[in-house]
Structures are given as structure tokens and as C-alpha cells.
Symmetry: D3
Subunit: 285 residues, 6 copies
């Protein structure tokens, strides 16, 4: 392993330790101030010796059912998170992304305990790992539980980067051959869907730093370029160039197809949903 | 307390008693005609001595999980509803709103037992009360349970008026600084969202009597004027004047920006989703 | 009973037997290769002597709550499926539809176990039967459980044909007087809604073979003609002629109102979501 | 089938109908007077169409665990009781025995709902049937659940007659080759045990009409003659003649070994635990 | 109310406050030292504002089943304990009795959390209250749950004094007309049983300060005099004089029938099980 | 570590592997022949990679409650069994003991799945380990759960040898300072109790190879010598010499106090409960 990777791994591990320490501090304070919640906070967080144990416990209890027991799921998640540092690094990156980008997020523990998009995403990464190991029936069973419990339906074959925010998350649908880059933010009701009943590579590819607004529908093997922004409620069926903004149904580029306006910030990180408004010529209220 | 308020309180209490008596009558009839449902009807309604006990029991059982026990939630809800008459008055006003406005609603008990929008709204009001008392971690835990169970994600800081109908409700998202007036009707998949990652007052303010159609997305600290109507699937990013209708993505005012058509009925109460159709010039099928 | 019907019933029963045998074969293989899932597969499928018993068990466990016990629901479903061959035939037709049309569906058992749209649809058919027998409170309680668990909200009075695919399904809302034909495919977030607070016949009628894209909203007692296609995110408020494609918000016909383009394949079966793209003149990215 | 048997079956079926009607009447009255219990009474009794369905539901819910689901057990019990009239006849005979012999038993429903000895006995009879069909692992799993839940540990191979009362029942242990006759009454903590580690016929044979007092221990392949009475706390290791009374540790016959006193009533029915007292010469307080 | 009673009530209330404060102190220390148990300790004790709430929660969760929900039982217990100071005084007296008499009891919270005899006794007192209010079906349902969960079967009509210790408690059976005095200690497997199938007053009356050893069986309407001691495994069928010791099967008085030995300490409090040994002439190992 | 211990450890590990392989073979056969039980067998045994995982899962699910979650207990048991080979060796020795000594035991898996005495004993050993590590509140909570679920109440401080059979087990009570040797067999309702309210060493010490019959009560810091036999229902208050038999209440030695009969087999292994009968002079029926 090259030194760079080692360094990277080590700094990721440090980040994990730091975030976990921060979470414990937050939750201890909350448990003291709110006895009614203390039992929940102890069972879910404070009784565990590591972030991966706490997360595995939480996911196991959220996703279990009368026929898929919590102990089985707990084991499954713990095994995956313990053996794969990249899963843990992605978890930490997602926690940081939510904390930084969502002004309603008051703490890391707020996200870990309560964000269904965050939890769905961590569970999907484990399902993805199972899928890659050809444990497909188990991966699909997990997908089904995530879809039932969180109303987030992401195929286990889909590839998701790090530092991803699924905000609110209800109704998100992501197809089998979709790819989501790093530092992407996706609001609720967003669809990354296919085009028909033929298999093969048929779902969107979302570049790094993209922001996709609530209710946007992106269909087919189209490419949403790095740093692009997709307005809420847009319907996108063809490629969107990097650093541009597509809005409307059917979607058009702000600034026009020929010379679309380009922004410089990373929308997946800045979370600016509406500053293009004045340029959106059709908006005529 | 001024006489007026006393009178008001007393008439609200009377309304509560009347609605509860009506619910018991309905449910007794149903329990007799449908033995398979009688156990559920007795445990949820007929075994309780008041509407607030029945509702607290129902919410406690709906929202509990393996780590947040039903008894804890029951206690929490009962404490809130028992001590705050305004919460109970809002419950009764919502029951009446659903019963009056939704032709599919066959009885008060139909709403109390089955409407996830109604139940999510009552639970959010308790979460809001906790938030106002600075019991934020508990309020956020409730929000999370409501979002998991009902797929309705309303921040506990959001303020919601009385006589509100959340019809079908799946996918409704309401942000931290949103305000919803009295006698508003909101369909499923409606978003009252923010504009970015900066905190502060950043969500829509919905006036009294507004109707918001299915899948409409309203973003930013914009004002939807009293009695306005937002068409299904609309994307609204700026203010909408009172008593006007906004439709489309991007939304425009029916009748035009300069001289928008004005209606006289209260759309949040009349629930007229489509009568503007003929004036919507672009609608060209 | 005429010979034709007898023949039909007999071939339906044969199809049921064949599909059930196929499901058992698939699941036995999966149970052997994945011991972690074997318990779930045995309890849900392999321990049962027929498809109707397996499905009743699965629905009973998915839809039960602390106040509506699994044994009660199991009994209810088993009674309905056992006594009504047309319910079983619809189940088999739906299984075949999903298997054929969704390239992400790897097997019949994948659908039976994991597709919330499929499961919601089977449960709704039982609720519809109860509604027809005037067991309305029970039918409405089922609707409520389906809406909570699967985020699929279909009124028990709605009539649904055979060979229906509800893909992903989260957020689907179908009103009381809606009718859905045979071989229809409906994506998630689709609304077949009403127009106001007046009762009566007020919801869409969807012809055979129709395809409705993700997030489409169809409101009012409008007729979507046989073989029509509704684009993702469309808002449809008036009739759509057979074999045409409506897109956009507000929706317009591809090819124009006067001479709309007509396709020849059955979109509900071909699942072609996007081939109309080049003809959609406004799509200008 | 000879006429006599037919007659017998028909009168047993009539008894079943009469007892079930009586139970429903009792429970309806209780549900009306005690709303807090009505849900339980409806789910367990009033929502069912027959005694066998009610009993199967009750046993399924009592004996289920997180790994042995109530629906599975319900199915198992219902299948057994539905297909075997002799099981149902034994249930009715036991209900009558409890009602008649235990002055603390206020009604048939009191026994059906609350007597763990009665419930354990009905479940054991089903386990015995499974054992006879060579479904031994399932029979043993049932035995284990009965032992956990009711603290009554009866081997599924043991044969139990009709009209049996297991009063209080906690701690009753009955071995593999034990036989219990008709109209026997057995108090709690009674052991019908074996003698060592060698297999074969090694447990007691209890004649018709026997009464065995609390805490009595009977070991080995000994014969307790018809109508015999075993005093509380006795330890019996050899045969006891019919219509005699054995008391003490080690047990001796009241009246002496050579000319034991004989009673004329049936102690299993008269439940007379103490009238032998004056004859028990050693009893010297 | 005479001053004496007032004083008494007030000192009982003070005792309750003191014991509750002590319990909270103990449990806080345990929660800090044992994070794995903290969730349980918070939910069961630390999140509650009073002993009666904590006890009601604990009993509700212990005794609930799939058909008798924890919220219902919690309500029932809380209602009883809140409205009846004598129930609370008995609870406190029992806590003190266990703490003082059982050397294995390390703290008040140890008893409150873990002693099935203590918990069964508190629940029986509530059942007794319901019985006295003619809510017999509910009282009997409670008895049944206590018998299933704790293997302690005490008829709700039985009257139990204060300061009672049921040590280990498994298998204790107490009949309908039994009376247990104050400061009595009863070991496991003890039976206070009846004599036959005739109703009426037919169970033992246990005087103040009595000690009954493990496995003792006392049958019939006999009187166990104040301060008497019943040896382990004894079978008692007639009266036992005050301050004497009965041992054996059949039981005899230590020291002989005519001039039985008398002790001076209160055996129910001193818990001396074996000091009579040397006087027990038959004991000849 | 001396070579001998290493060898011993290695042979114990081999025994563990062999027994686990045998269990899997047995259970696979049962799962194939009994589909109704297959789900239970897979979840409890076949899905696990080792005996300690299977046992931890089984105990976690048996002993969990609504306030002590299965995942927590599973973790606790797995941690103990994984880290302590002597716990695993004791488990294997107990499995062999049951299999060899109880003719009703048909297989190792029969014991692992169904014997409450076996399961209680394994759980107690983990509680004992926690007690030794000064994790007393957790150890006592486990004791309480074992007492509730299995009606077996063994103080976590008690020391239990290997190769122990608790047959039937209901009602077994073992006090804090009791010691149980290797290859001991103890029937149900057996008490190893204390003598009063003074702490310190106050419970029986049971030598290797002892057999204690059903319902025997042994009180005080007495020594039951190696290879002794205690008859069913005996009450023992003083020492019993090795290789002798004590019977009766009060117990006496078979053969007389001065020259008691001595046997040569190991009664804890031979399980001979009754061969002393002819020598028991008082046994006069």
C-alpha cells in the first residue's frame, strides 16, 4: 500500500474517532437534559463502543421485521462495517456532509439518529457490498426493507459516492445502473430512473458536486455533469453540461441551450436551490 | 382571562365532547357489524374515556419502535394533550376539516383511525410544543418517527394553524421556519422547502384558506397569500398574491401576472383543484 | 358455467401452479446459497403449501401492527384468496407483468417477497372485495395499513385490472372512483386524484395498456385512452386519446393537439418511457 | 361407522356448540361491563366463528416467540383441531371438568382464557398428535414452548384422557411413557417421572378418576389404580390400589398396607383433598 | 380522618419519597458504571417522576402480551397506584421487607427491578382492588398474566398484608379465600390451597409474622397462628398454634403436640429456617 | 501454559467442533423433513457459523424483553462465549451430559433448542462471569430474566461445574453461596437454599456426581458428599456422606445413620432414582 493511501486511511480513522467522540459528547448532554429520551440514547448510542456498533444496532432495529430479526441484521451490518474501512469512511463523510449542508441539522447525533436519508444510504452501501459479493437475494431483501421503512428505494447495484446528502429522502428512487458521485446532494422525491424494459446500462450518471432539487426526475443513461444543478420538479431526459442549471418540465438550461449560465460554486455543497430564479425567463408570476 | 376567551374555550370544549360522542357512536356501530375489527376499535377508541386518551394511545402505538416504547410515547402525548386545551381544539378543528372537505371521509372515526396526514399533524403539534419548551432532542426524535411511519416530514419548529387537512399526506415535507395558516388544505408530495444551507427564516409562509395541490413545491421564504391556490405539480419560488391561482413549472398566475384571475371561494375549504383549467392557456391537449 | 370460462379458470389454475412451483425452485436455491436468509425464505415461502398461503402470511406479517394482529390479517387474506379464484388469477398476472416488464426483477420470488407495489396491489384487491361486501370499516383499516407500511394509498373502492405493475410504488395515490385497466404500468409518485370536495364519480379512468411515468398527476374524472402514455412529471387534467403520449406540466400531446403522434406498441407493456423525446419540441437542453 | 359412534360424535358436536354459545354469551356480557378488557375479549373470543378458531388463536399468541411466529402456530393448531373431532371433544370435556370441579372457576370463558393448565393440556394434545405422525421435532418444539410459557412440561408422547383438570398447573412434569386416564385431577408441582437413564416404558400409569394432590411425586412405571387419591406432597414409588389413598413421604396407604381404607366417591371429580386426615395416624399436630 | 391516620399517611408518604430517592441514587450509580444496562435503567426507573410511575411501567411491560397491550396495563396500574395510598404504602413496606430480610438483596432497586415475588405481589394487590370493585374479569385476566409470567398464582380475592416477602416465588399458589397477615415471609413452591370442590371459605389464614419454608403445602381453612414457622416441604392440614414450628410430611409440632417448643423471635422477619433442627427428633442422618 | 492444558484445550475445541457438526447434521435433516419448523431451525442454528453464535442468538431471543433488547443480550452472550473457552467447554460437557443421561433426549439439537435447564445453566454461567467482573447489576438483571422465562432462579454468584444436567428444571432455586460440582444431575423443583437473613456462606455444597431428585430441598451450608443421592421430595438440613442415599422428609440415610448403604455407580450419571426402594424400610404401601 503506498504511503499516501496509508496516510489517507489513517486520517479517515482519525476522523471516525473524532466524530464518534463528538457524537457521544452531544448525546450525553441530551440524555442528561431529557430523561424521557435517555433510554433510547443509551441503547442506540451510549452503550456502544464504536460508531460502527451503534450504527449497526440502529439499522438493525429500524429495518428488522417479524421475519427478519434484528439480531440477524445487526450481525450483518456489524460484519460489513467492521471489515470494510471504506464503508466507515463513507459514513463519516456523509455525517459531515449533512452537518455542514443542512441548516436544520443541529448535531452529528441528530443526523445519526434521525435522518432517514442518511440511514438509508448507509444500509444501501452494505447492500451494495453484498450485491458485489453475489449475495443478491440478501441484498434485494435489504433494499425491500429500506424501501418499506424509509420510503427510499435504491437498487443495491447502484454506486454511491462519499459525502452524499439525501435530504428528507422520502420517495427517492435510484435504479440499478445509476452512479452518484461524491459530494452530491439529492432532495426528496428525486428519481434516477430507467427508460424501459430492456436491461443493461440504463440509468443516470450523476457527477461530483451535483445538486438535485426536490421532485426532480432524471431518466435514462444520461450524464449530469460535474457541479450541475437540477431545479426542483424538473424532468430531465438528456445530458446536462457541467456547472450549468437545468429547470422545468421539460427541463431547459438556464441561460439557454447554446450559452447556458455557468456558476462557480459547487451546488451539491452550497445547496443553493433558487438563485437562478431571476434568469429563469419563463417564471412570470 | 377575558370573557370572550372563556366563552371560546368553553365552546371548544363542548365541540370536543360532541365530536368524541359522535366518534364513539360511529365506532360502536362498526364494532357490532364487524367483529374482526372490534378488538382494534375497542383498544383504540372504545376503551378510552376521552378523545385525548384515545388519540394518545393511537399515536403511541403507531409511532413506537423497539427503542422508543409505546408507554413512553403514550405518556408524552397524554401529558401534552391533557395540559393544553389549544392542542385539543386544533385536533377537533382538523377532524372537522377532514370530514367536511374530503368526500372520501365517511366519518370522524375514519379520520381519527386512518388518516396518516391527520395523525402526523397531531403528533407534530406535540413535537412543536416540546420544541418550544426547548426539549429539542425529543422533538426531533418524534419528527423522525413521524417521517418513518407516515412518510410525513414536518420540522417541529414549523407552526401549523387549525382546521388543516393533509390529504393522503405521503411525502409532505415542511421546513423549520415554515408557517401554515388556518383552514389550509395540502395534498400529498407537497414541499414547503428552504433555499440553501444558510440558516434563518428560509421557508414559505402559507396564508389562511390556501389550497396546495399534489406534488407542488414551494421553496424559500415566500408568501402564499390568503385564499391562494397552488396547482398540482407547480414549482413556486416567489410570492403568490391572495385569492389567485398559480400553476405550472415554473408556476405562473392564471389570468396573467398583471391581472391575475381572482376567485371568491376559499380554496382550502372548497378543495376545487381544477376549475381554473379553462383559463390555463397553455393547457392544450 | 360456459366451457370457455371453465377452460379459462382451469388454465388460470394451471398458471398458478406453474408460477408457485417456479417460486419454490427459485427460493430453495436461494436458501441453500444464503443461510442468513434461509429462515426468512422458509417462513415466508417454503413452509407454505400454496401461493395463496404464502402471500397471506407475507401480507399478514407486513401489514400487522400492535393493534391489528398478524393472525387476524392472515385469516382475512387467506379467506379472501382461498375463496376467490379471480383474486389469485390477478396475483399471478401481476407477478408475470412485473417479471416481464421490469428488467431489475430477477425472479418471481423477487417480486413476491420484495415489491411493495405488488404487495400493496394484492392487499388492495382484498380490501376492494371487503368494500364490495359492505365491510367498509375493515376495508378502510386495510387501506390505512397499506398506506402506512408501503406508502401506497389506494382507496378500497378503486377498481384495478390484471397484469398491473406498480413500479417502486412509493407515493402512489389512487382515489375512490378511479378505474385502472388491464396491463397498466404505473410508476411511483403517480396520483389518480379527485377534483374537489363533492362526492360522486370524480377520479380518472385508465384504459388498458397505459403507461404512467413517475410523478405524473392525473386529476378528475378524465379518460386516459387505451394504450396512451403519460410522461413523467406530467399534470393531466383532461382526456388523453388512445395510443397518444401526453407530456409536461401542463401536459400537451406529443405531435400536437390536432394530430398527435400515435404509437403502435402497448406502452404499459413495452415500458418505453423516453422514445418520444425527439418529438417533444419544447425540450431544449 | 357403527350407529353408536355416530350418535356419540353427534352429541359431542352438540356439546361443543352449546359450550361455545355459552362462552360467547359470557364474554359479551364481560366486554360490555369492562371496556378495558373488551379488545382482548374480541380478539381472543368474540371475533372467531368457532371454539377451535378461538382456541387456536389464543394458543398461537400465548406460545409464539420471536422465532416461532404466531401465524405458524395458529395454522398448526387450527389444522389439528379442525381435522380431529376427538381433540375438540377432549377440549370440551376439559372445560366442563374445570368448571364443575374448581369452585374458583366462574365460567367456561374464565377457563378458556386464563387456566394455564387447561391451555397447556390442549396444546400438548396437538403435540401428541404431531408426535404420533412422526413429526417429532415439531412436537418437541411445542413441548418446549409450553414448558417456557406455562411452566408445564409434558412430553408429547404422553397420553392424556378426557375430562382432565390440571389445577394451577405450574411445575407439572409428565414423562414420555406416562398415561393419564379420564376424569383425572392433577394439582400443581405434580411429577409423573421416570426412574433412570434407561429408555422404554418407565413412567406412571394413572387410572381413571384419580386425584393427585399438590407437589406429589410419582416415579417409575407404577400403576395408580382407578379412583385412587394421592395426598399433597406424597412421594410414590410403587403401585397404589384402586379407591385407596396414599399419603406422606414415603407414601403409605391410609388405613394400612393390608387393609387400606376405600372410598366410594371419585376423587378426581369430588376433589376431596383432606377428608382422610383423621385416619392418617401420624398426623399429630 | 382522625389525626393519627393523617400522621400515619403522612409518614407513609415520607417513606415513599425516601425510598424512591434512594432507588434513584442506586440506579444512577449503576447506569454510570454499566452502560449496557443504562437504557433499561432509564426506561424503567430514571425516566419516571415517581415510584408509582416506575412500577406501573415495569409491571405493564412485564405483564403485557400481544393481546393485552402494555399501554392498557400501564394505565390500569398507574390509575390504581395513584388513587390509593394504601397500595403505595404496601409497596414500600414490601421493598423494605425484602431489603431487610433477604441477604442476597443488594438494594431497593434490585428488588424493584428483579424480584418476581415482589412484582407479582404488587400486581396482585391491584387485581385485588379490581376484584373488590366487581371488575372480576379484568382481575382474573391479571391473575392469569401474573401466573404465566412469574409462575406465581394468587387469586385476586386473596387478602395480603404489608411487609410481605415472597422469596424466589416460583410456584407459589394462593387460593381465593386465603388471608396473609403482615410481615409474613413465604418461600417458593408454597401452596395455600383449598380442600375440595365446594366453594366458600376454604383456604388458610396466615397470621402476622409467619415464616413458610420452601415447598410447604397448607390446605384448607386452617389457621397458622401469629409468629408460627412452617418448615420446608411440610404438609399442613390443621391449625398450627402461634409461635410454634411445624415440620414434616405430615407436619408435626417441634417439641411435640402437647408441649410444643415456642420461639420468641418473629420468624417472618428473622428468616430462621433451620434452628429447630436439633429438636426435630426424627431427623436422623 | 503447560502442555497438558494446551492438550486439554485443544481436545475441548475438537469436541466443540464435533458436537457442532453433529448438531448441524441433525438439524438439516429435521429442516428437510419438517418445513413448518425450518425457519426456526435456520434462524436459530443453521444460519450460524459456530455453536457459540447459535447459542448466543437463541439465548438473546429467549431472554429479551421490551426493555432488554435481543441485540444487547446477543452481544453480551457472544462476547462472553467467544472470549472464554471454559464457558464453551462447559456448554459442550452439558450437552453431552443431557444426551447421555436423559433417555427422552433424542439428539444434541433437541437439548440445545428445547431444554430450559440447559439454557438457564448456560445463561447463568455468563451471569456468573459478569458477577466475577463486578458487573453485578447486569448479572442480577440476567438472573431475573432467567427466572421469569425459564422459572429457574440461580444466583449469579453460585458456582456450577461441568457436565451438569438440570432436568425439566422448572422451579430450581440455587442460592448465592451454593456450589455445584461436576457431573451433577438435578431434577426440577430442587432448592439449594439458605438458612436465614444473615449473609455469608450459607448455601449447600454439592459434590461431584451427585443426583438430586425432584422436589428435594437442601438448606444451609451443608455438604452433600461426592456420589451421594438425594431422593425426590427429601428435605435435607445436614451433611450427607459420600456415596450414600438420603430420602424422606426429614431425610434419613438408607441403611441407617450408622451404617448407611453405599452404592458404587455415580448417581449423577446413572440417574437411578429408585433402586434404593427396597431398603427404605418405612416405605410400606
Amino acid at each position: 500500500m503506498p504511503a499516501g493511501e496509508l496516510l489517507h486511511e489513517s486520517s479517515e480513522a482519525e476522523g471516525e474517532v473524532r466524530v464518534w467522540a463528538q457524537i457521544k459528547t452531544e448525546v450525553k448532554r441530551d440524555a442528561e437534559s431529557e430523561p424521557a429520551l435517555a433510554s433510547y440514547l443509551y441503547s442506540t448510542i451510549l452503550s456502544h463502543s464504536s460508531l460502527e456498533r451503534s450504527l449497526s444496532f440502529h439499522l438493525g432495529n429500524k429495518l428488522c421485521s417479524s421475519t427478519l430479526l434484528s439480531t440477524l441484521l445487526y450481525d450483518l451490518f456489524l460484519d460489513a462495517f467492521s471489515s470494510d474501512p471504506s464503508l466507515r469512511a463513507a459514513t463519516v463523510a456523509d455525517l459531515c456532509a449533512v452537518h455542514e449542508r443542512d441548516p436544520a441539522c443541529v448535531s452529528f447525533s441528530h443526523c445519526l439518529l434521525n435522518y432517514k436519508g442518511f440511514l438509508a444510504c448507509q444500509a444501501q452501501r452494505v447492500a451494495h457490498k453484498l450485491w458485489s459479493q453475489s449475495r443478491k437475494p440478501l441484498a434485494l431483501a435489504l433494499q425491500s426493507r429500506i424501501a418499506d421503512v424509509f420510503s427510499v428505494d435504491i437498487h443495491p447495484a447502484a454506486r454511491i459516492g462519499k459525502g452524499v446528502l439525501l435530504d428528507h429522502a422520502t420517495g427517492v428512487v435510484v435504479g440499478e445502473t445509476a452512479v452518484i458521485g461524491n459530494n452530491v446532494s439529492i432532495l426528496h422525491h428525486v428519481t434516477l430512473g430507467g427508460t424501459g424494459k430492456v436491461g443493461g446500462d440504463r440509468h443516470p450518471k450523476i457527477g461530483d458536486g451535483v445538486l438535485i432539487g426536490a421532485g426532480a426526475t432524471i431518466l435514462g443513461n444520461v450524464k449530469i455533469g460535474e457541479g450541475a444543478k437540477i431545479g426542483a420538479g424538473s424532468v430531465v431526459l438528456i445530458d446536462v453540461p457541467p456547472w450549468t442549471t437545468a429547470v422545468g418540465n421539460p427541463a431547459r438550461l438556464v441561460g439557454g441551450k447554446e450559452r447556458p449560465s455557468k456558476h462557480e460554486d459547487v451546488p451539491g455543497e452550497s445547496m443553493d436551490h433558487t438563485s437562478f430564479m431571476s434568469e429563469w425567463s419563463d417564471y412570470i408570476i
